[in-house]
């Protein structure tokens, strides 16, 4: 059957209509699991084109070189055709066509046309991106590169100069999109050399020491000096203002205005309050200041490049009885040239009368120079300063402090023989009997074989490596230094940087055991196989289904599978949105850095629990438990959760939590940092939970400027999308789902009313309006819901759609290529297999790993 159809052929030959009908049938079947061959525009829209477009855009006229008459109906015929249709879509979407002086498209026709075309475009994009099952040669992505170097050398390389492979969409495991450039090769050489130097630099692990920091030594004096200076200013200003004879300059002021302003010494009570606390004589109360350096910080000694190892931080601290919930935590951070990095949080419960000692583990990596700093929980912006000013205006002092710290200790490093092991493994002593050349050959062959994941290096290649070594030795380098060049070359060679798989003689030839071991470990660990897995690969034992299953299970149970959980889930659920907007800390006082970061962590931890405990996949849609720690419990208002570790907690009666839709992260991702966005949330639910992705948002849609300056509820704003037919077409499907989530504010906390406010002085919120929330809506299939809980129930009924979406994502991530229609059979089989195991997450993983596709090139 010829599918090279166009309006022209449809016009002249009646017989074509039947073919088109058949095509329409195929297309309308697209969601039922059949493999559609083409994305095709239904013929009924031809009339619309004839009436409204052909005057200018028929083949004869082809104004602006746009010939719609000759445009194939087969949208997915080739990229060129699809691009032409995309232009039609954009032109009508943006209102550019038909032009203002032409007759407008009737709303109903326009809507139907745009609906069909945008759906066919989604389909066409998928068809055209289908690789036909080819798994392209994969370069180690940035995560995998760092893990692989670490597995070999025991040190983590600095990868900040390598491209972040997650930026180019899809999954960062997709070979076709992982590019290479000359700068990158130079970066690989430099990063490898750096890591080798750190790994091999001769140094003994220093004895563990304990360094104690007494914060009062810094802060007593600093705050007392500040208080004295403020008093001095105040006294001089008062003296000046109480007389008329001498000019302001004699009192150290520019003029009367300045003197009056400074006479207020607004922040003196803050200092006095601090200094009057007897506990600050032998410790530090954690306060916020405006001009005295912000937070009170406990600074531990700087750890240098070669002081790597495991350390323990101990802090003796106590909480004030009236402390606000978020100020009951210590925030552990490091500062370095690269900026501030947050390590974690610990809650302090003990009263001042009986302080407690809190411990925090820290691993210092070789090559890094960092200072550990402890302070109260922080915000992304200057909200803590603003809040302090707002509190000062109210209580005369400032934000009441939460914690007091007696001292902090840094203990370590713990004895660690890992470095010696690495040294001995790669640089054994030269046997007296062997020549320099023999020695280098043996060292470099072994190193290259390991780096190449047990692929034997080419003899000529090894010869050249040895040549580099000998050349360095001739210029009087020590053996250790002379190995740096050839070894960094190894770590920048294609056999290391790419996951090479031998070309099959015939199509779909199975992978070798070794290749399978590599594919499996990069899938589940984003790292090379360990010795055990590699051995099973080399001997071929891994090719046995049972062994493969056992190993898959072992890898999943190993902590290294966190790389899979994080790498996969983060990209699958588009969690990068969590970091895209900044949240105003005064508007959302409890959604600080800690809450935001741990809200993301909650998603990973929840997935981990569902995976580890073999729960059905749709537990993620609805669950009677949440996976949180003390800090998130405080954020959600769940009582009785002590300790920083994440664990399963039963959802309290009446709480909206449980399942992905109950997490703060998902709602924060569906906001712009200020307001909830029913559109973003609705689209996310359709994409990630219901497996019914709406077409991508068209670019260049003008903002609804007529709404500027007026105050509307989020629901009203979203409904404005539906005024115009080109918007209504998608938004009537997207927005109503978002309405059901409107009881969650921009940071995922429950609200009964939508409050709209704006920023005032010191960031304080000024209320503009508030609205009743109407959480009713409907799913695209027509299921009506009245509120959030009914929405969640309705979504939970779609566990099969959810599983299909999950399966497709898993295939894309695990096989390293975009999911394509050729994978339909595989996903059907995986779904069926998983269904036999109660759809537990590991069953999906096993089904993929055991599939012929995974085990073949």
């Amino acid at each position: 059957m010829s599918l090279n159809l166009s309006w022209q052929s449809g016009r002249s030959r009646r017989g074509t209509a039947a073919v088109l009908l058949a095509l329409i049938f195929i297309v309308s079947d697209a969601h039922s699991g059949e493999s559609p061959q083409r994305a095709t525009m239904p013929v009924q829209h031809r009339e619309l084109f004839e009436r409204h477009c052909f005057d200018c855009h028929d083949s004869a006229t082809a104004e602006a070189m746009v010939d719609l008459e000759g445009l194939s109906l087969d949208v997915s015929r080739d990229i060129e055709t699809a691009e032409k249709w995309a232009k039609v879509l954009n032109a009508i979407n943006s209102g550019e066509m038909p032009p203002p002086d032409a007759q407008p498209l009737p709303d109903e026709h326009k809507k139907a046309f745009l609906k069909d075309l945008s759906e066919q475009m989604v389909l066409a994009r998928r068809i055209l991106s289908d690789t036909g099952g080819v798994i392209t040669l994969r370069r180690l992505n940035r995560r995998e590169y760092a893990n692989t170097i670490e597995a070999l050398l025991g040190v983590r390389p600095d990868v900040s100069n390598l491209p972040n492979d997650q930026a180019s969409s899809g999954f960062d495991t997709q070979g076709a999109s992982l590019f290479m450039s000359s700068d990158q090769i130079e970066q690989y050489l430099a990063a490898a050399r750096n890591a080798l130097e750190l790994a091999f630099s001769p140094r003994a692990t220093p004895d563990a020491t304990t360094i104690r920091v007494e914060p009062e030594e810094e802060y007593q004096e600093r705050y007392a000096t500040a208080a004295a200076e403020m008093r001095d200013v105040r006294d001089r200003a008062t003296a000046f203002l109480n007389q008329d004879a001498k000019p302001a300059s004699e009192f150290g002021f520019l003029d009367e205005y300045q003197a009056k302003k400074q006479s207020k010494v607004e922040w003196l009570p803050r200092m006095d309050d601090y200094l009057n606390r007897p506990e600050t004589k032998h410790g530090a109360t954690l306060i916020m200041t405006i001009k005295q350096g912000g937070y009170t910080r406990i600074k531990l000694p700087v750890l240098r490049e070669l002081q790597d190892g495991r350390y323990t931080i101990r802090v003796r601290a106590a909480a004030y009885p009236d402390a606000r919930e978020r100020l009951r935590y210590l925030e552990f951070t490091t500062t370095s040239e690269a900026g501030v990095q947050r390590l974690g949080w610990r809650k302090v419960n003990a009263p001042l009368s009986d302080p407690e000692v809190v411990e925090f583990p820290y691993v210092h990596r070789a090559g890094e120079k960092k200072q550990l700093v402890i302070h109260q929980r922080s915000h992304q912006d200057r909200a803590d300063k603003n809040q302090n000013t707002i509190d000062m205006k109210a209580n005369g002092i400032g934000t009441p402090p939460g914690l007091w710290v007696d001292w902090a200790e840094l203990i370590g490093p713990e004895p660690d023989d890992r470095r010696d092991t690495v040294l001995r493994r790669w640089l054994p002593e030269k046997p007296e009997s062997s020549s320099e050349k023999q020695y280098a050959t043996s060292v470099l062959t072994r190193f290259a074989r390991a780096a190449f994941r047990d692929k034997e290096p080419d003899a000529e290649y090894v010869d050249r490596l040895v040549g580099h070594y000998l050349e360095q030795r001739e210029s009087s380098q020590q053996p250790f230094d002379a190995f740096l060049d050839p070894m960094s070359i190894v770590l920048s060679s294609p056999s290391f940087l790419y996951m090479l798989e031998d070309a099959p003689e015939t199509k779909a030839e199975p992978l070798s055991g070794r290749e399978l071991a590599v594919r499996l470990s990069y899938f589940l660990w984003s790292a090379p196989p360990d010795d055990k897995l590699m051995q099973l690969g080399i001997t071929g034992a891994l090719l046995n289904d049972t062994v493969l299953r056992e190993q898959t299970e072992r890898l999943l149970r190993d902590r290294r599978s966190d790389e899979f959980v994080r790498g996969f889930v983060h990209q699958w659920l588009h969690m990068d949105r969590l970091g895209m907007f900044q949240f105003d800390g005064v508007q959302f006082p409890t959604f600080d850095n800690a809450a935001r970061e741990l809200a993301g962590e909650e998603i990973f931890q929840t997935f981990r629990v569902v995976l580890d405990e073999g729960m059905p996949l749709d537990t993620l849609l609805k669950a009677d438990f949440i996976v949180i720690n003390d800090l998130l419990a405080g954020y959600y208002g769940v009582a009785g959760v002590e300790g920083h570790y994440f664990r399963k907690v039963a959802v309290p009666a009446g709480s909206p939590r449980g399942g992905l839709l109950g997490t703060a992260a998902v709602h924060a991702m569906g906001s712009d940092g200020q307001r909830s966005s029913p559109v973003e949330r609705g689209a996310w639910v359709l994409r990630k939970l219901l497996h019914d992705p709406p077409p991508p948002a068209p670019p260049n849609v003008p903002m609804l400027s007529r709404l500027d300056g007026d105050v509307y509820s989020a629901r009203e704003l979203a409904q404005a999308h539906q005024e115009q037919p080109q918007c209504a077409n998608c938004h009537q499907k997207i927005d109503p789902i978002g309405f059901g989530l409107e009881n969650f504010d921009a940071v995922g906390l429950w609200r009964d009313r939508e409050v709209l406010d704006k920023r005032g002085k010191f960031g304080a919120r000024v209320r503009l309006a508030d609205f009743e929330i109407d959480p009713s809506g409907q799913l695209p299939n027509g299921t009506v819901f009245q509120d959030y809980s009914e929405l969640r129930e309705a979504v939970a009924l779609h566990s099969e759609d959810f599983a299909r979406g999950f399966t497709e994502a898993l295939i894309g991530y695990g096989l390293g290529r975009p999911y394509g229609f050729t994978d339909q059979e595989l996903s059907d089989a995986m779904l069926a297999e998983a269904a036999r195991h109660d759809t537990s997450v590991d069953a999906f993983v096993h089904a993929l790993v055991q599939s012929e596709v995974f085990c073949a090139k």
């Binding site: 991106s129 076709a176 450039s181 060049d485 798989e501 070309a503 712009d672 670019p699 394509g820």
Partner: protein, 435 residues
């Protein structure tokens, strides 16, 4: 030591794709340089990419006032003293751009990200690199890429994927110098290593490339055809390094020239506004000593607004509505206008030997692929300088709202004496720019 494999043999045999398209003459072009010294001052190009766009409703001049007699919008007032030397062009865009967070990835290329089936990312050569192939032949640096870091911070700077504004012949990203200190040393600090040692180091670097190619060859023998196409990227990259090394060798014995007014190493903590200012100074100095003739600068966005006192991220700002976000957005626009005006001042003040100024021979393009929020139409475009013999001082509104931005890039190339038939999806030059 003798190695039987020659690099070039491998390159020749591995794939037809490696056609060495920008193979440079290996001979030292002393003669060319000598000739050039007596000629008219060289043409130069500067591309300034700002990432997240502009406050669109107030940045563009009134559409009803085109031509030479138009009112410069308030946001651009700092540029008023140069109004007759700049031109603002409306209605330019890239037809394929659809990513509302990439202001720089396709700005200088106009490529279709999805042009290659099965690949989620594709790009093509950027206009600066086309220019550099000709303008950069006789300078120490074929082109200079500046790319402020901090791009990975919350929401990024709105530049999108890439390492700088520049993309090579194969559509792969070119790295940039990320800060003023590194830029200063690269352009003006001489290597303290003795010449003989530097020669030896180059030789070693070549030898390193030969070794990795040995591995590439043995790997390639066992790969399928499609995998070999992927591995070609690696081989192309090696080839590029070789070209770079050859050029370095040519310049090895030539000392780096110092600008007439010597520069000091910049303060390492400069960020945002001050960083842009010093980067402009470094570009002016590099032009004075003719270190390069093609410059791109992927400018900071987060750091810029933060240095202006904002506490929000650039991405947050870009989603402006009435209120603080808009205020920050507008202050960013004006800061850029002020900095650009200073840059033009300095270029005008720098004289060539014939009494003309650097500005007279330079073409500057300032803008982004994003206009505002997620909009990719009417890309903000401001050009300046006499390098392309453009009729400056205009406000142009292209008759067609989707005029290819590549038409401007083509106009710049041709105006600067680079004979190319087309660039990207260009449909022609912008006639109004030419007298």
């Amino acid at each position: 030591m003798k190695y039987p494999v020659s690099r070039r043999n491998i390159l020749r045999s591995s794939s037809a794709l490696i056609t060495l398209p920008f193979m440079e003459s290996m001979g030292v072009s002393q003669a060319a340089r000598a000739a050039e010294a007596s000629d008219s001052p060289p043409k130069r190009m500067v591309f300034l990419g700002i990432g997240y766009g502009v406050t669109a409703d107030r940045w563009y001049p009134d559409r009803s006032t085109t031509g030479f007699d138009y009112q410069l919008p308030d946001l651009l007032k700092p540029l008023a003293r140069h109004q007759s030397d700049i031109t603002i062009i409306q209605n330019l865009m890239h037809q394929y751009s659809a990513d509302g967070h990439s202001g720089s990835t396709f700005w200088l290329t106009g490529a279709n990200r999805y042009a290659v089936p099965g690949q989620s990312f594709h790009n093509t050569i950027s206009v600066d690199q086309v220019a550099a192939e000709q303008l950069g032949k006789d300078t120490r640096f074929t082109s200079i890429q500046l790319a402020s870091d901090g791009h990975s911070s919350s929401g990024g700077d709105g530049h999108g994927p890439g390492s700088s504004l520049a993309w090579n012949r194969f559509g792969k990203p070119l790295a940039g110098l990320t800060n003023p200190v590194a830029t200063f040393h690269r352009m003006f600090s001489d290597d303290t290593m003795p010449l003989a040692e530097r020669k030896q180091r180059l030789q070693q670097q070549r030898s390193v490339l030969d070794t990795v190619l040995t591995d590439a060859r043995s790997a390639s023998q066992r790969l399928s055809q499609s995998d070999n196409r992927k591995l070609d990227e690696y081989l192309q990259s090696i080839r590029e390094i070789e070209v770079r090394l050859s050029k370095e060798e040519k310049w090895l014995s030539v000392e780096k020239k110092q600008p007439s007014k010597p520069l000091h190493e910049p303060n390492g903590s400069l960020a945002g506004y001050e960083e842009i200012r010093i980067m402009y100074d470094l570009m002016v100095a590099a032009m004075q000593v003719d270190a390069s003739r093609v410059f791109t600068y992927r400018m900071p966005a987060n750091a810029l607004i933060q240095s202006l006192g904002a506490t929000m991220s650039a991405h947050t700002m870009s989603h402006f509505s009435e209120g603080e976000r808009r205020t920050v957005s507008q202050s960013r626009d004006t800061a850029h206008a002020r900095l650009l005006a200073e840059f033009i001042d300095k270029l005008k003040a720098s004289k060539e030997s014939d009494g003309s100024s650097l500005f007279d021979h330079c073409t500057i393009a300032f803008g982004s692929n994003l206009s505002s929020v997620h909009s990719l139409t009417n890309c903000p475009t401001l050009i300046a300088g006499g390098g392309s013999d453009f009729k400056q001082g205009q406000h142009l509104v292209m008759p067609h709202p989707k005029t290819p931005l590549c038409n401007l890039w083509l106009s710049m190339l041709r105006g600067s004496g680079i004979a190319v038939d087309s660039f990207g999806d260009s449909s022609g030059v912008i006639d109004d720019l030419f007298g």
